[in-house]
């Protein structure tokens, strides 16, 4: 049985003119010329106020008192803010977070108070004068100790917290959500399996490291209108959460406006609401004056969102012929002090922790565990990169144990259209096997590489990946489209251009249907007053979801165009088509009516009156076939994920046997894009995602001390790759098995490209030396020391 799709999009690929081409980015000139405006570039004049935040030095403590006297009297200070000003909770999926800390602080860096002053420097100086007295409590710094029976409760009121219906918090524990999957009979399957491998893998926390730090400018005007300029992936969701959190002050949605200009990188870190609520709330206390809050690089590391750490206990059973019969995957997530967003990462991983394989018997437990570390949250890959490290390491180990080639083993078990998923629904069409074969060919799997360097060893690795968008079942996208006098188009949407090329792809979709060239289409960044709704730019879903909304708007506009022609000339709609910005008619080859002649002013009839008028249209998309309701004990019964995107990554590495240094000489990555609306942009995602993934395995690693303080909130000691550190060669491979409900068959690829980067390196290291590293990152030091130990042992 396959899923049926109620909305079948236009996928007639043979005739495509714009879709499938590498159209030039429509934001390219803006960014290259410097015309692109970011929040920090906007000039608010001399009345602009600046905010600074007082942060907790303790991972867990009770606030005994806050003395703001001295700060209030400091030069330039306009207002001092504490938790007493805003005793309100907020949260994306679970309301467990306060604007400013109330009676307790739960991580090092948590916001305790704030200062608004006439200059940034005065705000920082005054913030140092606020005296906070704490009663220090024993923090819980790892998920395993936080689920121990006698562990302190970080949120004793957990049972009272509002949350989405697909979360299952366990009262009187530190477990904020427990996603369970029970399918088939794992106990029997393990007993009958020819080979069972069980092991534990660990993955630390990571930071997004967008070039642009989080920044907001907020202003409550004298008409009680709150406008917030933010560097954000989620303008509408931010407006919603601001309006909800500040509702006790009398705000409604119409009073709150979020404007998001260009963003200097997001990677999930600018999704939802983190520090933005501070700026929005503080501005309500200084009516008429805009307030800027711009995080430092250090704050960016410890008080926005972090990618959660995980301890993964994995057990897989196989038969001698290579058939996987059972998976038991227990994921203990270090979700941090507040899980309002991060709990859905845990949920997403729990639903999909088998990886892209056909598995009849499944037991997944994905536990969202409160710890006294910074809040976990969305990060490109949304839980999948984390569990793929262990899973894809495990797949190589099993293949070796039963004497199978790891490529053959993956091919044999690769998930295919119609296969039953862990929660009972069925797999969408996808090109898993094609991706594996193309990557294996690109890296010449099975062919040994030579090197002249006596200090190094050449090796290869392979790993597969999959991911579904993780979103509420009713997450929606919308678009408005309007023609201009010259036949050019303005499209408004509320997805964000994060560098991925979203605006260009939206223009290409409209261009394809309306035959207006991409150069004549402007797609603007969002303003929630003017642009229609978009849930968020996350989950690799906007090409698909927002693309469908734009496609529908374009189809509606086309219908209106044909209607005008029909009214004036009498041609039947079915005989009309668009070509080169003009209406043509299949029954009258001589008929040509350029769009620019009538899309604003209409068409004059023979009597001298006019028909038509401005062509405007709207489109919206909501996945009406999804359903997050499922049995809490088995996870069966719902259809929580819209579809999966699959793919495969391979590398050729050269590794120094003494220092452990890894050079990626060649990498190949195949991803099933369904249809690449802009192949150049897909290739950009492949290279960028791969490099980001390689960074998490080779260099990056958040390190905390025994008191829960982050030791490396800076690029001195948190290393992200430079141009010197990228692979010598990347072979991007686009597989296209169309997604039936996608715009022209497209599905998302943005996050997927980094998911298999970690295990592919771990596998290449093993293939070089026979040494298996089971904790990320796989740094040169870890490799060298493992080899040294092996050599002397």
């Amino acid at each position: 049985m396959t899923t049926t799709f109620p909305f079948e999009a236009e996928t007639d690929s043979d005739q495509l003119k714009t879709v499938g081409t590498g159209a030039v980015r429509i934001d390219g000139v803006d960014k290259i010329s410097g015309a692109a405006e970011f929040v920090d570039d906007i000039d608010f004049g001399p009345g602009l106020l600046h905010a600074a935040i007082v942060e907790s030095p303790h991972a867990y403590a009770r606030i005994v008192s806050i003395d703001t006297t001295e700060a209030e009297e400091a030069k330039g200070v306009v207002r001092v803010v504490t938790g007493e000003d805003f005793p309100y909770k907020f949260g994306m999926y679970m309301e467990d977070r306060y604007i400013f800390a109330q009676d307790h602080v739960r991580f090092v860096g948590e916001q305790v108070a704030g200062v608004i002053a006439r200059s940034h420097r005065q705000a920082v100086q005054a913030a140092k004068l606020i005296k906070v007295e704490y009663e220090v409590l024993e923090p819980l710094l790892d998920p395993k100790s936080a689920v121990a029976e006698d562990a302190n409760l970080i949120h004793p009121d957990l049972d009272d917290y509002a949350h989405v219906p697909w979360f299952f918090p366990k009262a009187d524990t530190n477990i904020a959500h427990w996603r369970k999957i029970r399918k088939g009979d794992t106990e029997k399957a393990f007993a009958e399996a020819d080979f069972v491998l069980e092991d534990t893998y660990t993955v630390p926390r990571y930071a997004h490291c967008a070039i642009e730090p989080h920044v907001t400018v907020s202003r409550l005007d004298h008409a009680d209108r709150l406008t917030v300029w933010t560097a954000s992936q989620s303008p509408h969701t931010q407006r919603h959460l601001f309006a909800e959190a500040l509702a006790p002050l009398g705000f409604t949605h119409k009073d709150v406006r979020v404007i998001t200009p260009y963003v200097g990188g997001g990677f999930g870190g600018k999704a939802g609401v983190s520090m933005e609520i501070l700026g929005a709330a503080m501005a309500t206390l200084v009516k008429g004056r805009p307030v800027k809050l711009r995080f430092t690089r250090e704050q960016e590391f410890y008080n926005t969102y972090q990618r959660q750490g995980v301890v993964a206990e994995l057990k897989v059973g196989v038969m001698n012929d290579g058939t996987i019969t059972a998976v038991d995957h227990k994921l203990f997530w270090d979700a941090g002090a507040y899980v309002e967003y991060g709990a859905n990462v845990v949920n997403a991983a729990g639903l999909s922790a088998t990886g892209p394989y056909r598995v009849p018997n499944i037991s997944n437990d994905s536990l969202c565990i409160y710890t006294n570390l910074p809040p976990g949250g969305p990060y490109r890959g949304f839980g999948y990169s984390e569990f793929h490290f262990g899973l894809e390491s495990h797949m190589d180990r099993i293949a070796e144990a039963i004497g199978m080639d790891p490529v053959d083993f993956r091919r044999k078990n690769a998930i295919q259209e119609g296969d039953e998923l862990s929660y009972g629904a069925h797999m969408n069409p996808s090109g898993m096997i094609e991706a594996i074969d193309k990557v294996a060919a690109a890296i010449e799997w099975g062919v040994e590489e030579e090197t002249d360097n006596p200090n190094t060893v050449m090796s290869k690795g392979i790993a597969c990946f999959w991911k579904a968008p993780a979103m509420p079942p009713n997450a929606s996208s919308a678009s408005f489209l309007k023609f201009n006098e010259d036949g050019s188009l303005n499209i408004t949407v509320s997805g964000m251009e994060l560098g991925q090329g979203y605006l260009t792809v939206m223009a290409q979709i409209a261009s394809e249907i309306l035959t207006v060239p991409v150069e004549k289409i402007r797609v603007e960044t969002p303003d929630t007053d003017r642009n229609p709704y978009e849930w968020q730019t996350v989950a690799s879903h906007v090409t698909w979801s927002s693309g469908l909304a734009v496609e529908k708007a374009a189809i509606e506009a086309r219908a209106k165009i044909f209607d005008v022609i029909h009214q004036v000339y009498g041609f039947e709609d079915e005989s009309l088509y668009l070509e080169n910005e003009a209406v043509r008619c299949s029954t009258d080859p001589e008929f040509v009516k350029p769009l620019r002649d009538f899309v604003i002013d209409g068409i004059q009839t023979e009597e001298g009156t006019w028909r038509g008028g401005p062509i405007i249209a709207s489109g919206k998309f909501m996945p009406e076939f999804t359903n997050a309701n499922s049995d809490p004990e088995t996870g069966q019964g719902g259809h929580p994920n819209v579809h999966y995107t699959v793919g495969c990554t391979g590398v050729v590495t050269e590794i120094d046997r003494d220092t452990g240094r890894v050079w990626v000489r060649k990498a190949a990555l195949a991803v099933d894009a369904g249809r690449a609306i802009n192949p150049d942009l897909v290739k950009g995602q492949i290279v960028g995602g791969l490099v980001q993934g390689l960074a998490t395995v080779l260099y990056e690693d958040m390190r905390f001390d025994e008191d829960g303080k982050l030791l490396n909130p800076n690029f001195t000691d948190y290393k992200i790759p430079t141009a010197f550190d990228i692979p010598d060669e990347v072979v991007p491979i686009i597989v296209e098995v169309p997604q039936p409900d996608g715009p022209f068959g497209a599905r998302g690829v943005g996050e997927h490209t980094m998911i298999a980067a970690a295990p592919v390196i771990a596998n290449a290291v093993y293939n070089a030396f026979g040494t298996r590293i089971k904790s990320m990152p796989v740094t040169q030091e870890k490799i060298a020391m493992a080899l040294l130990e092996k050599g002397s042992g």
């Binding site: 940034h120 420097r121 920082v124 100086q125 140092k128 430092t296 200090n455 120094d656 003494d658 220092t659 240094r661 080779l698 260099y699 390190r703 030791l711 490396n712 001195t716 000691d717 290393k719 790759p721 430079t722 010197f724 550190d725 740094t779 040169q780 030091e781 060298a784 020391m785 040294l788």
Partner: protein, 294 residues
Amino acid sequence: MVIAKEFDYQRPTTLEEATQILAGHPGSARVLAGGTDLVAWLRDDAVAPDLVVDIKAIPDLHDIKIDGDTLHLGSLVTFSDLINSPIVSEHAPLLAEMAETVASTGIRNRATLVGNICSAVPSCDAGPVLLGYDTTVHMIGPDGTRSIDINDWFVGLRETACAGDEIVSHLTMKVPVHGGVYVKLMRYAGEDLAQAAVGIVAYPGDEYRVAFGAVAPTPIRSTRIEDALRSKPLDEKLIAEVVAMVADEISPIDDIRATAAYRTRICEVMLERGLPAARERLDGTGPAYGTRLI
């Protein structure tokens, strides 16, 4: 970026004037040259001077000069100056090899060689290289000028022989015919502080200088290894012999950048690969300066 601390700023035009200003503010003034350390420390509240004395208006401190086999480097010579100097590339290309591993281009354009040894962090790149030469540090203070051997310069962790009211005017280095290498352990190929480093200079007559960085409170010379190498042909056996001595010569620590064990291991590897390269460079063969050995 905000520096919350308020301080006065002076920009003297002679070294004498600068030392008088420093003498008038005992313990509360800091000298500003490239500022790549000082400004970061100010921002982090790691230092809190009442006065910052900018020496960049003082003439002649940018000089790079050669007189016979004596190289003169002014205290405002930056790492980029070392990389771009024809005098350095002819007489002491090891300085440029070292300079190329320091931070990034923007930092190298401001950061000074002398500032690097004045900050005297254990990982300072200049340390293991300057220790490979007969280097003299020249200072001026309220009582006049003073010179000190580089071997007496590094006193302790971030501590030097320079008194608070003294300013380094320049370095002089003896640069006879030699071959050298600077090998630096970094966590990736981008800019990084040394996790461990080895500077080796080979002189005619099987004479070597060997110094390590980032594996002790200060950059350190290993005279025991130098003695073991002296007047013997450099062969695999001799290299193995001195590599085996490394662990006893250094005292690395575990920190978030690397473990002591890894630092030790890599010092061995760097010495093993660096010695033949230094020797070959002395002979005019060997890998080009700038070639990374690890």
